[in-house]
Amino acid sequence: MNVIRVMTGNEACAEGALAAGLSFFAGYPITPSSEIAEELAELLPCAEGVFIQMEDELASIGAVIGASLTGAKAMTATSGPGFSLMQENIGYAIMAEVPCVIVNVMRGGPSTGLPTLPSQGDVMQARWGTHGDHQIIALAPYSVIEIFDLTIRAFNLAEKYRTPVILLLDEILAHVSEKVVLSDTAVRVIIDRIIPQEAPEAYLPYRYTQNLIPPMAPFGSGYRYHVTGLAHDETGFPTNDPVEIEKLLFRLQDKIIRNRDDIVQVEEFLLEDAEIGIISYGSSARSCRHAIRQLRAQGVRVGMLRLITIWPFANVKVEKWTKNIGKWYVVEMNMGQIAREVEAAAHGDATIFGIRQINGEPINPEFICQKIKDGLNV
């Protein structure tokens, strides 16, 4: 049975998380993400899960990682300043391979910036916020129903690849109310982490398995092992052996890179006959859809490659489409963070322009139409 509801993006995120099996949330209030915590404070105890408001975001991500190690599906939600505070332990979750979901409802920055206004300024921080070489998975939904679906997907990817997954929303998406049709729970795919089958004595917590993702035993289930953020070998204990260090760091890299096809999602919108392409994501992509309809009504053939997965970057798709279409606009509420990635992937095959706005106002469709039409006359 499908259920029809009206909800905000933040509500959809909270409910999507519960649908994915969330059993632990720790967070610290910050606009525009607080409604996710408020919603879960009420819903989680009734679902026999734990909600806890921590003393800050450093504590929130720590508690989330701790809970996940006991087998819980765990999440936190924050915005720019809090996301900055979480960075060290996001790296810990990558290194120790602890599944968790971090929601960042983006607002204008830097610093306290624009607490109540939207931005897409944290895209690169999601990629490189924590120190050291690493891979990260980040998703960027663009509607309320997609927030629900991608929150579930964020948990599924976190569990499948034993890694933190970042869900990038923004102030517009968080607070917009939309009618959503929630699909039948029976058809929803829920992925749980693989747990070891071998006896505790034979368990190697960071074993090099064929799929590069070691089974994960919850703390307290009889498997006694060590977890550290230091470089470690298959046993989980620290090592300074260059061979072991390289093995670990490449495995962490490869488990994501080799599964790009499974992780990376894009939407190809009216691209087949397009002469001009747009690349966008999140709430900016909503404006792009409107702009494309308006431009097409005026005879300008525009299409869009919408990034649903932001990281890893959709190199293959961008490469393919920039070979087919020579002129591209990257529409984003920042100074061109994704435009640079597009340029790198296009290898000079196409001309890339940016349509950007960082003043706290959403990029409206008319602005996009105007920029593209101005470009037609040159």
């Binding site: 734990v50 508690a63 809970a67 703390f219 060590h226 230091l230």
Partner: protein
Amino acid sequence: MFEYEKYIRKNKFPLVWCSGCGDGIVLKALLRAIDSIGLEKENVCMVSGIGCSSRLTGYVDCNTLHTTHGRAITFATGIKMAKPELNVIVITGDGDATAIGGNHYIHAARRNIDLTVIIFNNFIYGMTGGQVSPTTPVGMLASTAPFGNMENTFNISGLAQAAGASFVARGTVYHTVMLEKLIKKAILKNGFSVVEVLSPCPTAFGRRNKSGTIIDMMNEQKDNCVTSARAERMSERELEGKTVIGELVNIDRPECSKQYRKLIERCRSGL
């Protein structure tokens, strides 16, 4: 004879600690306490931060988690709330717990979450080579206080007491029998429990401050400490310059993870 081997990961030896470091004595007392309570290793989770003392978790055969600097209590809070049946013990240094992790320390005490926090107070940053700590006594030398520490210090135990901890005690590596008893009590206590252990660092603190050998440093503990029972009968003047050891706080307050389970029950019964 107590069999340490039942509880240690012997293949991880030798220990990273310097010879003469007090931390090994605390490890022994901790293992004896765990054994005397009869805890199953499967149900013990040890969580540490970063520092010499925090390396302890690597050596104990239970669920062990070596986290980031200052954050051990936050990871432990997540573990305890998600799986309250685990006995969660936090291993931390004075810098780890009261400088970078000070906020988590007082909030965990306020929440009164059932963690046992063992703070290895060596009055210095050991791991990074002897920088000044929030507990370095005024006038003492550190690599970042080459003219002597000018700042006031934290009273680690007093901080926990003021913030609402259920159990607070101070011990030393000289008074090992007492230390084992204090740790045992702390683990058994339902609520936030702290044992501050004065654990000398001959390398990063002792050498610079000319404290002598580890024997000298332990003798100083013997001479300088008075038990809390005896301290009660001493005047303020008599107590000057002395360190009070033993049980300092033991009170009953509602515990965080249990209160939360009650809430789940309430939601289930629809009240």
